[in-house]
């Protein structure tokens, strides 16, 4: 019982910290959960996308270093020469990427 209550206290503490680092991590994870596909791109490609009008999702801004996350269509992703698709798992590759473009789910089940 003590262990369960201790876990619950930690859970509460985490909730209170959600606007600090812990919250930033969770916002990042939620963004990934909403993505059907993820691609890592180089800085130049990210800059070009921004110039096209792609908005940067704040979900990556509070991480250190900040992650540039942009949402694009699957068709646009195919056109990006530097894009390398990553499986949507919490892998070292994905976590180390500083420029990510995400494709949202389109067909809702």
């Amino acid at each position: 019982v003590k262990a369960i209550r201790a876990r619950a206290r930690v859970q509460r503490w985490s909730f209170r910290q959600r606007h600090l680092a812990h919250g930033a991590w969770e916002r990042f994870r939620l963004a990934l959960a909403h993505a059907e596909r993820a691609f890592v791109v180089d800085e130049a490609t990210a800059g070009a996308l921004r110039a096209e009008g792609c908005a940067v999702d704040v979900a990556g801004c509070d991480l250190e270093p900040p992650r540039v996350i942009m949402w694009i269509s699957a068709e646009r992703a195919k056109e990006l020469p530097s894009a390398r698709e990553l499986p949507l798992r919490l892998s070292a590759d994905l976590l180390a990427s500083t420029h990510l473009v995400l494709v949202p789910f389109t067909d809702q089940p």
């Binding site: 369960i4 209550r5 909730f15 969770e26 990934l32």
Partner: protein
């Protein structure tokens, strides 16, 4: 012996307890039982939980004498183990549900000489659902929405946490639009902290990898996304 047969045989062995009104089969075996013909291919754990409302404890204790193929563990009397001649059975955990609590922090131990129970707050999210009849055994199950939320409101860390979330992946396979609407309504009644935990755990589930002999979460990612969107609506 197939796992399905072990599971059904175990539930047959505890059938007298399953006759008590309010008692439910809970936990990771529910997705197995909800498969067509209770195929039980989504093996997550080798035990089965019997959820006992604290108000039904005396009625459950009155039935324990009719259970002959399992016996309480000496270390933990709420865990019943197969007797020596019943090795095909799996362990049974008796756990308590108290409708007066829901928060994990309110979890308590209900002391009793015959059947002490760990009473977990989130279990009160379970509501009675379908009663399956499998090979002549009557199996009362909770509604999937409450069971999914029960798994999602608790902080899930490490291997055990991942397994619990994979139970939700298994449930999502079988949940109907009505179940999802049910989940949304129950979610809306939760305190803000627990709602936050639900969303956080769903995002973790979405990013889990497949594991052998467990529900594969990857084909469920679109469903998780849709569910998250429903739950994120103000």
């Amino acid at each position: 012996v197939r796992f399905r047969d072990r599971l059904v045989s175990t539930l047959r062995a505890v059938a007298p307890v399953l006759e008590v009104p309010g008692v439910l089969v809970g936990g990771s075996e529910v997705p197995n039982l909800l498969e067509v013909g209770a195929a039980a291919t989504l093996v997550v754990s080798q035990d089965v939980d019997l959820v006992v409302p604290v108000g039904a404890l005396e009625a459950v204790k009155a039935q324990l004498g009719r259970i002959t193929r399992l016996a309480p563990s000496t270390e933990e009397p709420s865990v019943w183990l197969p007797r020596g001649d019943a090795t095909e059975l799996i362990e049974v955990n008796f756990i308590g549900m108290d409708p007066a609590i829901v928060d994990p922090i309110d979890t308590y131990e209900l002391t009793d000489e015959r059947l002490p129970l760990m009473v977990f707050g989130p279990l009160s999210l379970l509501a009675p659902g379908t009663v399956l009849e499998i090979d002549g055994v009557r199996i009362p199950l909770p509604r999937p929405a409450g069971l999914a939320l029960e798994k999602l409101v608790t902080d899930r860390t490490g291997e055990k946490g991942d397994r619990d979330l994979l139970v939700v992946a298994g449930l999502l396979l079988t949940m109907s639009p009505e179940d999802l609407a049910d989940m949304e309504v129950t979610y809306g009644r939760l305190p803000a902290e627990m709602r936050h935990q639900v969303r956080s755990n769903l995002s973790i589930l979405s990013l889990l990898d497949a594991r052998p002999h467990m529900p594969d979460p990857r084909p469920q990612r679109a469903r998780v996304d849709a569910l998250l969107r429903r739950l994120e609506q103000p």
